[in-house]
Symmetry: C2
Subunit: 215 residues, 2 copies
């Protein structure tokens, strides 16, 4: 019984890792679509999100089946409930990637992000993609030390978020209110994307060590 349970839990983790991978790809494509004002790429990101939602729904069904058939307790039960929370996080990460793609699509054929702050946005996109890849590794390895690294990457994201805010709110901002609002929302979406990946990593730390991180 215990072996069946762990095989099912491993399959569930594999599915969650795959979804982390897909949200990372979606974020990569969304950032490129945004920075290159590529409306077709933006629409593909939005379209692919249906796959993420659909697959996460299937995996949620698998998690419920494990709970119903195996009736796990203690750490095993927490592992399945953590998987359910992870699925909510990856769904949200996918949705945030589509929000970024939508802002790109909305301003097409113009570029939503002015040259002055393009490097910030590109770097936020790069960190977001990296952190999604790290979340995938951590879900598969269950390594709490590797999981703790996501918190470090998230600090870099938060720092970029603060710096970008300072630029937008500076008296020298010369790109008008519409662009300020776009950049503010974009920055928020990147930051929230990273937060959800960190929440996934923190559950790995909690399950391995019992130490709860901020949520």
């Amino acid at each position: 019984m215990r072996n069946v349970f762990h095989a099912q839990l491993d399959a569930l983790s594999g599915g969650i890792a795959d979804l982390c991978d897909r949200t990372g790809s979606a974020m990569n494509d969304a950032t490129c679509a945004l920075l290159q004002a590529d409306v077709h790429a933006a629409e593909e990101v939005i379209e692919w999100h249906h796959d993420i939602t659909y697959l996460s729904g299937l995996l949620e069904g698998d998690a419920l089946t494990i709970l119903a058939r195996q009736a796990p307790v203690a750490g095993d039960l927490r592992a399945v409930v953590s998987a359910l929370k992870d699925l909510a996080d990856v769904r949200r990460m996918g949705a945030l990637a589509t929000h970024i793609a939508r802002i790109g699509r909305l301003r097409h054929p113009a570029k939503a992000v002015p040259d002055e702050v393009e490097a910030y946005v590109a770097e936020m996109g790069r960190i977001a993609v990296q952190i999604a890849g790290d979340a995938k590794s951590v879900v598969l390895s269950r390594d709490p030390e590797r999981a703790a690294q996501l918190g470090v990457d998230d600090e870099a994201m938060d720092e970029l978020h603060r710096q970008l805010f300072s630029r937008v709110l500076s008296p020298t901002w010369a790109h008008g209110t519409v662009t300020a609002v776009d950049v503010t929302l974009l920055s928020r979406y990147f930051e929230r994307f990273a937060d959800h990946a960190v929440d996934i990593a923190n559950r790995v730390i909690y399950q391995a060590t019992g130490a709860r991180q901020r949520e």
Copy 2:
């Protein structure tokens, strides 16, 4: 066994309803603190959020205990898993209320919201408080028709969100970039608060009818 299970599930629903009530109060106080530039009220909202986080953690423990001891299946299992998702939503609703209070605190002693759009923000706050109260009623009554009403209120919130955006992005906006950014984020926080309440209501509809709403 079944009676014990339902008594425990009712207690869990009662706790979630209480947290909906608390997030509604937090949102009411956050909106007042924001519109009146009342820094002490803003700090109370931020302080009270610890209670919401703490209580939701206790209720999550109760839900895990029910899963471990009662090993529910089918609809009973889905009810407990729904309760876990509801708890994630109320935690997030509480966090969004603190975000609104923080913007008020950040701009104190000035008002973050200019007179020109104060009526929009006040109305978004009013709808948010109402929708939290409706979520409470729906969690207690499990009434799918009443739950469907939250979607209607959420449309009113979305419409205000669009109208406020139009004002901020209009060429006649005369309150500068900082205020535009504040108002954009505030509008987003109110809208997301309502979305989470609707997610809670949609789970009641799904459990009662099997019909899944958008998430």
